[in-house]
Symmetry: C2
Subunit: 203 residues, 2 copies
């Protein structure tokens, strides 16, 4: 029951959402958008502007049982998630093959290597061997900082993975990665960085 | 009930599967392998030999309900097939982006354009604009003939699609497409054709 106060208005607590709103204007962290949603929006922007053709791959699913009801769509009644054998995003930009994985962490000072599966690491190694462009997009979600890190560097750190090396220090990512500014439209303009890192000799 | 004949053996009809077996040795059509299985085998061959990194994309599925039973894997209990917004296969070969769709028909003299969705056609157009390599692999399953047809040619025929144009004549495919020989390992060596069609000036 709402308590009525002398001014005749119900008590609704403090002015709703004031603080979150103010923060919303300052950073992106409270928008409730995931890295995946931001990248999908960005890729759609690239597609519509004919800048690049980059899509997220569908989630791999092992389908076990499908029902075919009369006069309606087939329904998958039993299926299981499969581990992906590749990274999540790929496509073509300026004639080159682009391939990347996007991950976020709530850690403040390092990025855990456990975010990457051996299959994905192996896939990136294979792509580099075919002269494709491969990288990861890393987001520190608490501070909403985003970096592009070339797959070669990721492979370097991953190969050291053992009892002592379980993550990449943020200070290392700041040094050898490339900060991606968060924008409005597109939200994560990573191709701006790709231009500088992979096409600068061709400009 | 099996009828026993004077020689004491049950009648089992004519010598089982004699004719199909003979055909099996002559052509691939009775192996029971689909075009998709053959291409997956081929792509695995390319991957293992470090020739190219080309994967089939997972089937896109809209997941509605997932159960998380204790101590076992998550089970998808309700999901629906979604229409793909891209072609099925893509990857990287010799630094270039490769993108294709594979389709088969039981028609003998033409390839129905209804095999291709508007989304896929639009995707191929976008890939060509980014200087990617895009084509279709077409199989006439009754004769087990396979052709590579550049996406530009497919777009040309698709743009004519109307009341009169519903398919591509096989004679046209023979003229402007490129026949792919069926082999043992890999089964459909389409990169051999890609070399000739897209890289010949670079050789």
């Amino acid at each position: 029951m709402a308590i009525r106060y002398p001014n005749g208005r119900s008590y609704v607590g403090r002015e709703p959402n004031k603080k979150p709103n103010r923060q919303k204007e300052l950073t992106y962290s409270n928008r409730g958008m995931t890295l995946e949603e931001d990248l999908n929006e960005t890729n759609l922007y690239y597609l519509e502007k004919a800048i690049a053709v980059i899509h997220k791959k569908p989630t791999p699913v092992q389908i076990v049982q499908v029902d075919y009801p009369k006069r309606s769509a087939a329904v998958i009644k039993e299926a299981y998630f499969k581990q992906a054998s590749t990274t999540d995003y790929n496509g073509v930009y300026r004639g080159r093959y682009i391939d990347f994985e996007a991950k976020e962490t709530k850690n403040k000072t390092s990025f855990p290597l456990s975010n990457f599966h051996a299959h994905q690491i192996e896939h990136m190694r294979q792509v580099l061997k075919q002269d494709g462009i491969a990288f990861v997009i890393l987001r520190f979600s608490l501070t909403d900082e985003i970096y592009l890190l070339d797959a070669l560097h990721l492979l370097y750190f991953y190969n050291q993975k053992d009892e002592t090396r379980k993550s990449i220090r943020k200070s290392d990512i700041e040094k050898i990665g490339h900060s991606i500014k968060i924008g409005y439209h597109p939200r994560i303009d990573y191709l701006h960085i790709v231009d500088a890192v992979y096409f600068s000799d061709k400009l």
